[in-house]
Subunit: 190 residues, 2 copies
């Protein structure tokens, strides 16, 4: 039996992924954290586009994230606008350039290729990793930041008509495919 099963290859993959993101982000003058924040903003839903949500997602502090976002704003990648209902809150959205860059940076070409080259079943591996992720998030007490339609608050009211059971607001199909900070995995057996 190899030492530290799962953990060791996971950490090595982490290192490689980070090195790759670092390199590709640097080509656009972005630090790794900034890339992560940008990619998050490109895939989060309307409940999750605030500095506070980014802070929880990155597992960082609000002060640090504030600086990160300031850079992204200065670079013309994100726009800040005050929330209408709560004027303490800032809403973040990507500019056209920001969206384009996020799309480019969110899929590391070399890893996509590696995934194809290796003989592993991507769908199977994806499922296992997500199961492990849910367990890890539960163990560490972190929010899950899952996709809306996999949340226990998600309600199906019609063929293409959904609703969030937490905010009671209607959701479009597009909404349901995005990351939500309020996401809570369905109660699982075990």
């Amino acid at each position: 039996m190899s030492s530290r099963p799962v953990l060791q290859p996971l950490e090595r993959l982490c290192s490689l992924l980070r090195a790759d993101v670092r390199q590709r982000g640097l080509a656009h003058g972005l630090q790794p954290v900034q890339v992560e924040a940008l990619c998050y903003l490109a895939s989060c839903n309307r409940y999750s586009d605030t500095p506070q949500a980014v802070t929880e997602y990155l597992g960082s502090t609000k002060g640090t994230v504030s600086q990160t976002l300031k850079v992204l704003e200065r670079e013309g990648l994100v726009l800040k606008s005050p929330d209408r209902e709560d004027r303490r809150v800032v809403r973040l959205r990507l500019t056209a350039r920001g969206r384009a860059l996020a799309g480019e940076l969110s899929t590391p070409p070399l890893f996509v290729q590696a995934l194809g080259d290796s003989q592993v079943d991507a769908e199977l591996l994806d499922g296992e990793l997500r199961a492990l992720l849910v367990a890890a998030q539960r163990a560490t007490g972190n929010r899950s930041f899952g996709v809306c339609h996999s949340c226990r608050f998600f309600r199906r009211e019609g063929k293409r008509i959904f609703r969030c059971g937490l905010t009671e607001e209607p959701l479009s199909v597009a909404d349901s495919e995005r990351i939500c900070r309020e996401h809570d995995a369905a109660t699982q057996a075990g």
Copy 2:
């Protein structure tokens, strides 16, 4: 189909792992990079205990790594000694404290628990991740840093007698279970 299969959960697990290592390392006054270097040195073989090897392992630069190692030395966790054959080379080895700390930090308790809680088959997942890792290393042109006995240079000469086909030196059983910078995965079908 969820967006970015495999990659998305992998990145989330990365973030959580890093946040966890950060927190536990900080309790001992160590930065994440320092923890990674320490854990590497705790599990590498005698061909791989130099600053250069650490540099390649971390995917960093020798200047940066030199600083990292200086800190670890100052903290009394690693010892430096000149190589006898090549006096440019520095050999790194852990002190008793360093070894103890590496052991403590290399197994994140919360993730081990999460791995148990989740219903995934650890051995199966481990195999898939290692396959993906090999493919990723090949794609990015990085060294594999695999365990000695899985290397194509590894030769079995007796029941418990091994030899490295690259250096032609004999290897103990303990040697064969450690990480080697010269590691090269066996030629694989496909």
